[in-house]
Amino acid sequence: MSIDERDIYEEHVLPHYEDPYHRGHCEVATHAHEGDNPLCGDVVRVEIELDDEGRVRQAWFEGDGCTVSQSSASMLMERIEGMTVEELKQFSAEDMLALFQASLTPNRQKCCLLSWRVLQAAMHSPIDGEDEDAEVDSFGGPSLSEES
């Protein structure tokens, strides 16, 4: 980690960690999902409300884990509000890593991508009672480079 990267942590990452955007529950969520990274124990739950036009009206997260997993979730929630479902689907892993700014080793990329993956899964998990206690996904497997 160079001095520059340390600064990014200080200026960008840690503030999101300490003062997260929309940490909590979305009372009127239409879609939700939860996932973890069993290697580190990081957990993230994402709850979003889509409006009638398929636009994200609100995005909330809850979670527990390292600065990277939690601050990246905060950044992601902040970023996606107002986006359409189509735009969400096109928001790639690379976009997520770019949003985070600080450069990450493959293992830390998994932490950074946790909320992004949970979000992608949430898009397929409309809340209709039945799916509510769907199994928690885990994303311990391949690193980004293997996915792409």
Binding site: P38, L39, T105, P106, N107, R108, S138, G140, G141, P142, S143, S145, E146
Partner: protein, 422 residues
């Protein structure tokens, strides 16, 4: 044998890559290593890849976020991708590193077998199988009350597709497990056709590619089998590693085999949940440097060219057989050279295989003698042991000729000629 024959490959170009090939045998003769079906030798690139890992960036994989561990992990996963490409798998996660072919077949027999084979079910093998592809199925059969059957071979040591079809029809086995290339006869089986026949009758398939992967391109998608296995040490790679390929859907549906670290998603005091592929089948610290060495090996083979290796070995087999046929009382096992990979096994009436091998060893020529872990095959041939010369791309026509000459000498020496005790 015409001397002007054009060889598919120039062995001389590769020999200097293999440190052991420059050594001499105990007798002082240059080493002619013709025991490649048991295990191949190693180019410096493989030996160095292993040493470089230990020297420069070794750590345990997967679980660490420090620099060394990330580098080891990256190299280990890169090895998985390289070997997956070597087999042309669809996904890298279908490629499981095991301790060897034997461990891979046991994984399937135990994990897939216990979930899919029950009392009264049938398992079909061929008479040419290596013990590694027999014993695990006996163990499974005993445990669940299933039955193991063997497709007989034709007189010239090939699989008769009619017999296969008949037995598949009659038995409707849950599993048809067969070798792509016989490690004794050298017979090359028509894998894709056999898989197709089995699939049509609802049988799963496992292809033992331990003797196929070294000697020609393997394309698991073209083969279409559920499982394909091979060993590192037979493709110029390290010991301690093998490969289990399984189709993703099949591996996903299978219960895990060995339990331990890495293969779990979660463990509590009440139970555990398995991890996703490929970790699900890689319990514990995996063969890290072995995977990195195996990657170097398959890259090296790619550079030599697997098509050329196969063609060249067939030329060596033809040359060997032409010479051996001149020796009185010598019988070559298996089919004609065009149906073979680089293996020639033979028996000489009245002379024990071990005596031949020992004599060849005094000439610096390493061949193998015995049942080659294929006792049922030898029983079906009515012999207890055979002598096997098995070639690789670094063997030369001269080595083949020296082998043929020495076999002739051995025959002269050991044949009965009325010696009397003093």
């Amino acid at each position: 044998m015409t001397v002007t024959e054009a060889f598919a490959l120039d062995a001389g170009r590769f020999r200097s890559d293999f440190p052991v090939l420059t050594t001499r045998s105990r007798s002082g003769a240059p080493l002619a290593y013709l025991d490649n079906a048991a295990s191949t030798q190693h180019p410096a690139a493989v030996i160095d890849a292993i040493a470089d890992c230990y020297r420069g960036y070794y750590a345990n994989v997967h679980r660490g976020i420090h620099t060394l561990s990330e580098e080891s992990t990256e190299r280990y996963e890169r090895a998985r991708k390289t070997v997956a490409r070597f087999l042309n798998t669809e996904h890298a996660r279908e490629l499981i590193f095991t301790a060897g072919t034997t461990a891979a077949i046991n994984t399937v027999a135990r994990a897939w077998g216990s979930a899919n084979v029950g009392e009264g079910d049938h398992i079909l093998l061929t008479m040419a199988e290596h013990h590694a592809n027999i014993v695990p199925w006996f163990q499974l059969a005993t445990q669940v009350g299933a039955h193991v059957h063997f497709v007989p071979l034709t007189d010239d040591g090939r699989l008769d597709l009619e017999s296969v079809a008949r037995m598949l029809d009659a038995l409707r086995p849950k599993m048809f497990a067969f070798t792509a290339v016989s490690n004794v006869l050298g017979t090359v089986n028509p894998v894709a056709a056999l898989v197709e026949m089995a699939r049509e009758r609802g049988s799963a398939t496992l292809v033992d590619a331990a003797q196929a992967a070294p000697h020609g391109p393997v394309d698991v998608r073209e083969w279409g089998a559920d499982f394909v296995v091979f060993s590192g040490h037979k493709v110029c790679g390290p010991t301690g590693i093998g490969v289990l390929y399984g189709r993703e859907a099949v591996l996903d549906a299978m219960p895990p085999f060995l339990g331990g670290g890495a293969m779990i998603h979660r463990v509590t005091t009440r139970g555990f949940e398995p991890a996703p592929l490929p970790e699900k089948f890689e319990a514990g610290t995996p063969p890290i440097t072995e995977a990195i060495g195996l990657e170097a090996a398959v890259e090296y083979l790619g550079h030599v060219g697997l098509e050329a290796i196969g063609r060249y070995e067939r030329q060596l087999v033809e040359r060997a057989e032409a010479g051996l046929r001149e020796i009185p009382g010598l019988e070559i096992l298996g089919p004609a050279p065009e149906h073979k990979a680089g293996i020639v096994s033979f028996a000489i009436e009245g002379i024990h295989a071990h005596d031949i091998a020992q004599w060849l060893d005094t000439r610096g020529i390493a061949v193998r003698a015995g049942h080659h872990c294929a006792m049922p095959l030898h029983q079906s041939l009515g012999i207890t042991a055979s002598t096997r010369a098995s070639f690789y791309f670094y063997n030369t026509p001269d080595e083949v000729d020296a082998m043929v000459d020495a076999v002739g000498e051995a025959r002269d020496r050991f044949r009965k000629r009325g010696r009397k005790r003093q």
